[in-house]
Amino acid sequence: MSGKPILHYFNGRGRMECIRWLLAAAGVEFEEKFMEKPEDLDKLRNDGSLMFQQVPMVEIDGMKLVQTRAILNYVATKYNLYGKDMKERALIDMYSEGVVDLGEMILLLPLCPPDQKDAKITQIKESTTNRYLPAFEKVLKSHGQDYLVGNKLSKADIHLVELLYYVEELDPSLLANFPLLKGLKTRVSNLPAVKKFLQPGSQRKPPMDEKGLEEAKRIFRIK
């Protein structure tokens, strides 16, 4: 019997968090090996474990997978969270990529120089309420179903709900005019596997604080 997937990253959200969410929502137990110093990253590189010298890396089914999207798509396929056919998959991909675009802006915010931060936050909030949330609200409104695609839970719903939590962390009022998205967030959060993941003590990671940022910069040798 194959072992649990093993996630290689640092002890923080970064680019691995969406993978943790997806595995958790699929009810898949996983192990984590945290890099704590630059030498840990060096070792992975020198072992030839990182195809393009980068993390995230996930050991699963005898493979060492890199590239966040490749990993997510493999996991989604394996656990039937990728729609029933090519056309549903295309919609799921389109919605997921939109989530990634906004998510990326939020993810990189801690690296923003302090004098540019306020402007960046304003830009993110504006994109959130004018571009991204309206698009997803409209999708839900157009078919009136519980999930974004094919009336069934998919990776698109999980990624979007994860994002909604980050939007809420940034500013809860941003969700005010999006009733259907609020409904999706509640619905997905109440799924047993997700509910468990949202509880304290799970493998979900907290927002990055100053200490975490310093640690990440040290590990990845970012000045």
């Binding site: 195809m51 890199v66 999207r69 798509n73 394996k78 056309k87 998959r89 295309a90 389109m94 571009r131």
Partner: protein, 222 residues
């Protein structure tokens, strides 16, 4: 009978070029509408055809698809260029995502001020030579096959060829340490559909120039 896919974008490479490559390699004829004015772009948005207000947009099989990777994945699957099982698919995804990142760096460099642009392109060259090309050279060496995955032509091969040619435009000697990639380049370039796409007069677009940058800035207002 199905209509031809229709591509909406600027008259240049940008984020659409990888899509043109994939369609051309698959032998699929496609139409193009070029964005030249702000008005055209605003009409697309107002008509609700751009999910997140952005191009590329590809009309195909009754769908209005946006988001480059969503479009590429759909096309790869549709034209049997995405592997025969999930393990092959994930390898294709890993390889394609790596090279696509390189292509996007090149596309974005065109919009930077001269000094930053030079830095960006130097970084692309460095990453190609030290991070990406060695990996693909090793993959080809380890299995000794003609194609990257599963001994069969796939999206990963198309994406790698595009990356090689694009990086060669920056430095013609970039493959000097990669003999298998040189053979790969020749081999894939000679595939009839790709050979045709590489000839003058095809829908392949030239590298970005100042006119292209101006049009994009004007249409997207940045």
């Amino acid at each position: 009978m199905a209509a031809k896919p229709k591509l909406w974008y600027f008259h240049g490479r940008g984020r659409m070029e990888s899509i043109r490559w994939l369609l051309a390699a698959a032998g699929v004829e496609f139409e193009e509408e070029f964005l030249e004015t702000r008005e055209q772009y605003e009409k697309l948005q107002k008509d609700g055809r751009l999910l997140f207000g952005q191009v590329p947009l590809v009309e195909i099989d009754g769908m209005e698809l946006t988001q480059t990777r969503a479009i590429l994945s759909y096309l790869a699957a549709k034209y049997n260029l995405h592997g025969k099982d999930p393990k092959e698919t994930v390898r294709i995804d890993m390889y394609a995502d790596g090279t696509l990142e390189l292509m996007l760096m090149v596309a974005l460099a065109a919009f930077k001020p001269p000094e930053e642009k030079e830095e960006s392109l130097a970084l692309v060259l460095k990453k190609a030579k030290t991070r990406y090309f060695p990996v693909f050279e090793k993959i080809l060496k380890d299995h000794g096959e003609d194609f990257l995955v599963g001994n069969k032509f796939s999206w990963a091969d198309i994406q790698l060829l595009e990356a090689i040619l694009t990086v060669e435009e920056l430095d013609a000697s970039v493959l000097s340490d990669f003999p298998l990639l040189k053979e790969f380049k020749t081999r894939i370039s000679n595939i009839p559909t790709i050979k045709k796409f590489l000839q003058p007069g095809s829908q392949r677009k030239p590298p970005p120039d100042s006119h292209y940058v101006e049009v994009v800035r004007n249409v997207l207002q940045f």
